[in-house]
Subunit: 426 residues, 2 copies
């Protein structure tokens, strides 16, 4: 089925109907069955490591032939270590508490009924991602644990590897008495499959896209299914004039240089005027070793005279996610100007302030309208594992449903449950 499927719409509708049916069985499955499936899959991944590497070789050869770039080949490659990590990841998911079925806040009402909420799966999750085989296993694992069915559409370059993984996942589900259709992989490389997946709200409850800005923008235009997504990460660090300089240097360096390509990397540094002369030259000494280009306003440029990778910032720089060793730098009068700048230009992903001032810290936390707001910590911490969610299906910049790093809970919903004793309404 790797090649073309005659009628994509029919094929996807069939996948959707199977997923919807499987989701009903998953919703009522017990904790033990779902954990057993995850354990069986982890074991089978280790057992079939050679087979997986062979499938991956096929993908890599085809990808090289079509001239895929080095970074994408790197992400497509399934090393022995990556295989071991996939299996371990599943075992970590097993260890997380089952979110499903939990009943909370059961309160008696004056009418006599008792009302609370039960956590339930969303239903069917569609996941669209690039050619990264490890995402196949991660995403399947999180959906199984949270009692959802899922339809996975990975990058076409990973199709052989994903098919091998699908076989293993289905074996694990069946072995645990769960429907094999709870995890389905789109087995066609036809791009029309994505178009179908995002326009069948009757079978798919939510789409989680994982990929670059181009993919997300396209999906936002065309999707008729709600999405859990973030478009980009234009993250800020603001160094307040009441900052501890030592912390400021450590955080501003880490937020930029720990990794350049991640969405929680700092892209713009704001520095309070009164501390700029005491901080910027020291920071520049750190950035210089990493050859970080600084794009600054005129005022900062004066303090950075002689820095070898200096450029003048334009309005565009405040709106750019570089994902590279480039940093926009701006001097601001005070926290008010910093918050104003952040609420104007930030992508509402993650923004941090360095300060020792108590009242300002509370105002910053309250007034910055972003998914993660931090005091005296590196923006790089905005991550499901670091936040203690145990796992992460993605990060949301939206305000509805889930905001910030999204773990198992983001794949669930709360329904009201009522324990009555024959009550009727007046």
């Amino acid at each position: 089925m790797t090649g073309t499927i005659m009628n994509i719409q029919q094929y996807m509708t069939d996948l959707g109907q199977r997923a919807r049916k499987a989701s009903r069985a998953m919703a009522k499955s017990d904790t033990r069955a779902r954990n057993t499936a995850l354990t069986l899959i982890a074991t089978a991944i280790r057992r079939d490591a050679a087979l997986l590497r062979k499938a991956n070789q096929k993908d890599l050869e085809a990808a090289r032939a079509t001239g895929l770039d080095a970074a994408m080949l790197d992400r497509l490659t399934l090393s022995d270590k990556a295989i071991a990590t996939m299996a371990e990841g599943l075992e970590q998911i097993v260890a997380l508490p089952d979110p499903i079925g939990e009943i909370s806040n059961m309160k008696f009402r004056p009418s006599g009924i008792q009302v609370g909420q039960m956590r339930v799966p969303l239903g069917v999750i569609g996941i669209i991602y690039e050619a990264r085989p490890n995402v196949t296993v991660d995403a399947a694992g999180l959906c199984i644990k949270s009692g959802n069915a899922t339809i996975l559409r990975g990058g076409s370059e990973a199709i052989h590897c994903n098919q091998a993984l699908a076989t293993i996942v289905k074996e694990g589900l069946s072995g645990a008495g769960l429907p094999a259709d709870a995890v389905q992989i789109v087995e066609t490389t036809d791009r029309a499959a994505v178009g179908a997946l995002i326009t069948m709200p009757e079978y798919v409850d939510v789409i989680v896209p994982r990929g670059g800005k181009g993919l997300i923008e396209r999906l936002m235009k065309e999707s008729r299914v709600p999405m859990i997504k973030h478009l980009d990460g234009i993250c800020h660090v603001y160094i307040d004039d009441k900052a501890d300089v030592e912390k400021a240097l450590r955080i501003a360096f880490n937020a930029k240089c720990n990794r350049y390509g991640t969405c929680n990397t700092m892209e713009t540094l704001l520095v309070a005027r009164d501390i700029a002369a005491g901080v910027l030259p020291k920071l520049a000494a750190l950035y210089r070793d990493e050859e970080v280009e600084l794009r600054t306003d005129a005022e900062a440029a004066k303090l950075l005279a002689g820095y070898p990778f200096l450029a003048a910032a334009t309005e565009d720089d405040w709106r750019t996610e570089y994902l590279a060793p480039i940093l926009a730098v701006k001097i601001v009068a005070d926290m008010d100007e910093a918050i104003e700048h952040i609420n104007t230009y930030s992508s509402q992903h993650t923004d941090a302030m360095v300060t020792e001032d108590y009242s300002r810290s509370l105002r910053f936390l309250r007034e910055v309208d972003s998914a993660s707001v931090m005091i005296n910590a590196s923006t790089r911490f905005a991550d499901g594992f670091e936040f203690g969610l145990g796992a992460e299906i993605g990060i949301s910049n939206d305000k509805l449903h889930a905001r910030g790093p999204v773990g198992l809970e983001g794949l669930t919903s709360l329904k009201y449950v009522v324990f009555g004793h024959g009550e009727v309404r007046d």
Copy 2:
């Protein structure tokens, strides 16, 4: 401005920009200011009762001239009692705890950072509703309390009354030191205003439509802003063979006959075969007094022979929200068939089971995929006040964000907050 506005798009963009700006001030406003505004508005509503009735008279005269039907005229009418109720409703909202700024679950992580969540307003709420002046005050009150800005688009027939209310609301906001633009009323009766409101996600964060199925369907097709909504309420009561007959009669009668026009009214009754003969004739005796038409399958028809308002159910009846003294009735073999029927035909609004069986009750709660699931209680309880939310902006049949009756919390979001001490990521 009651008439035509030359450039609707420009007018709505202006409203959107003002709302966005006001929302920032509302988000950082304190509890006291928002409660003061609500109290001032309640006082002014009582003070200006005569003025409001006069504006309402204008609307009523115009509506009568255009031949509005009796039910709509009734909803448009602002009686002295309705005016008093509006003011009391605001005072009840004052008494609710402030949801905004609450920080929960601050936990230390191995890295040293402390992570939790802060409840924050969504931003700008667009509310689209029919010619019911009381909704103007209700909705404005809930949005003010939850720190949001709102744009209200009520039915054009209520325009004079809504303008009078808008003046009062703006006076209250200003009196409390809050921006008057936090509540704006669309002051044109041009329908293009709705089209603009639902397609400016840059200024409006969520749309709450309150109205009939036709309105919601149209908005679902055209909206580019997420909505908190329900399309219809096809609610079920399933009488299990382990039901207490007394409770079953009381609940099935109340769920249908308490009010016909509400979304939480029962539209289909399912009865277990083994108890049908013991229950249906007794129920029919109750329904007969209310002249409820029963549309039943062949098996139930036999048990109801001689009932004066009996008809044969067709497939369509299982999918119909009557909003009238009509009830679909079906005999099922057992709970499994009942759940299957509900998960197929229910609008996932509210479904109830009458039973004394412990294990079955737990299964019904878990397996019925609806926003509110009840045991031994009337579906009519599915309501923000009855559930203890204190107030209700609407009911959601969706699974994402808010599900079931939506109160103040549904108008908020959680952002992550991090208290650091200079931590950076390895």
